[in-house]
């Protein structure tokens, strides 16, 4: 009972916070709402029996990625007073918005159109950190390795793009 109530509460917070995050014109406020939504999401993971995933959600998304976002926003010198004008979407940016909206609407229609009588209840189970780790690094080791290689490529690419001007000049001469 308590768990069900918490589940719906966290779900509502996640939806509302995400909606607020994409409608705020002030980027820092948007980041804060998104962090709230990640917290709610972590709670959902915990309630669904995946404490390790909940912790990672907080450490990686709320604790690292959003902090980096905040860092970039602060580097861009968007002070609280200058952020009032906000970001206005150009005509080109409306195209992906419409495409995403259509995709979301069709997914929702498919999900709500399912007949509850034939729907199967998902099995209830609890993934301890140990089980989760074994599953990740034994059964799905190849996928994990591929994903980490991609991150390595991204890091090398970022280093190449962001190399100091001096190195770039030398390259041009050669």
């Amino acid at each position: 009972m308590m768990a069900t109530l918490t589940f719906y509460l966290a779900g509502a917070i996640a939806v509302i916070a995400t909606a607020l995050a994409i409608t705020r014109s002030n980027p820092v406020h948007a980041v804060i709402y998104l962090v709230n939504s990640f917290f709610a999401l972590a709670l959902l993971f915990y309630l669904l029996g995946a404490p390790l995933l909940a912790a990672w959600e907080l450490i990686i998304y709320a604790g690292a990625i959003m902090v980096l976002f905040l860092f970039i926003i602060m580097m861009l010198k968007l002070s609280p007073s200058s952020a009032e004008k906000g970001l206005v979407a150009t005509r080109g940016q409306w195209v992906p918005v419409v495409l995403l909206a259509v995709a979301l609407a069709s997914c929702t229609m498919l999900l709500t159109g399912l007949d509850p009588a034939t729907a199967q209840e998902a099995p209830r189970w609890h993934a301890s950190p140990r089980d989760f780790g074994y599953a990740l690094f034994k059964e799905y080791a190849l996928a994990v390795e591929i994903a980490s290689f991609q991150l390595l490529f991204a890091a090398v690419g970022a280093f190449y793009v962001g190399r100091p001007d001096k190195m770039r000049d030398e390259e041009d001469v050669v």
């Binding site: 912790a55 907080l58 709320a62 604790g63 980096l68 905040l70 860092f71 602060m74 609280p80």
Partner: protein, 330 residues
Amino acid sequence: MVDQFVMLALILIKLVLVFAVVLSMAAYLVLAERKILARMQLRYGPNRAGPGGMIQPMADLIKLLTKEDFIPATADRGLFLIAPGLSALTALLTFAVIPFGPTLEIFDQKLPLVICDLNIGLLYFLALSSLAGYGLALGGWASNSKYSLLGSIRGLSQLISYELAMGLSVVPVVMMAKSFSLTAIVMAQETIPFALLNPPAFLIFLISIFAESKRIPFDLPEAENELVGGFHTEYSGMRFGLFFVGEYINLVILSSMLTVLFLGGWHGPWLPGIVWFMVKVLAICFFFIWVRGSLPRLRYDQLMNFGWKVLMPLALLNVLVTGAILLGMG
């Protein structure tokens, strides 16, 4: 029914006691720091309020509470108001997973001396310590002042850089204890503390928690002679006090984590567990203060280079070597 009631009462008592002890430790650490630093610099330190300055923390508290709570006109009001609270809250919440003594038996009830023994306790600590960046970042940004903003940017980049090294330095601990639960990690150190089994991890963690606590030699976010007060320049009264208390609670937490992860937690000969735990934590706090009295501040590029080019590779190498040794031993 009665059992459940006793259990609930014990948990509540435990919560209140831990809360009180951590807060008063933070308050008296401020006094201890001022006293010890003063003696190291051949001064007396605070000695007016009470015998030997013993009620100085109370005097400071009353002073902070009665001061004006000033909000700059151009500040982002909402975020400016909650940032100090976030800073103190993330620090306080961490103590929930730290085991500070062996399991006690009271009224036929087993009473573990930890508020909540999560099976992901170590990750919970890492999550909260990375969330601690928000209090600092939002406080500096919402103040809308260049000194605060500079302090926040420095603080954030420092936290991001050293968190990696900190996270990697505890991986060997998890490998040796085979658990994320802090109680299990303490239990695994019954005969020999991990600081002796894996000194590189201990040193990397020690250096990283200095950076995490934003203290000398890593106190660039609040470098007084460059940035006025750093990220809390615009704060006054008890909101400034909350940042300040948060910092000292954080000091207690980080010392406790060092004790739990590397110094064997409550294990030790002759004395009861809780006493050993307190002795170790206070000794590390003293070490923090001693370092503050001895070392100069690093330059910014030195700080970044050291974090990324020395600590990170060392921590990674340490994970590799520890893994190889554990595998070799079977």
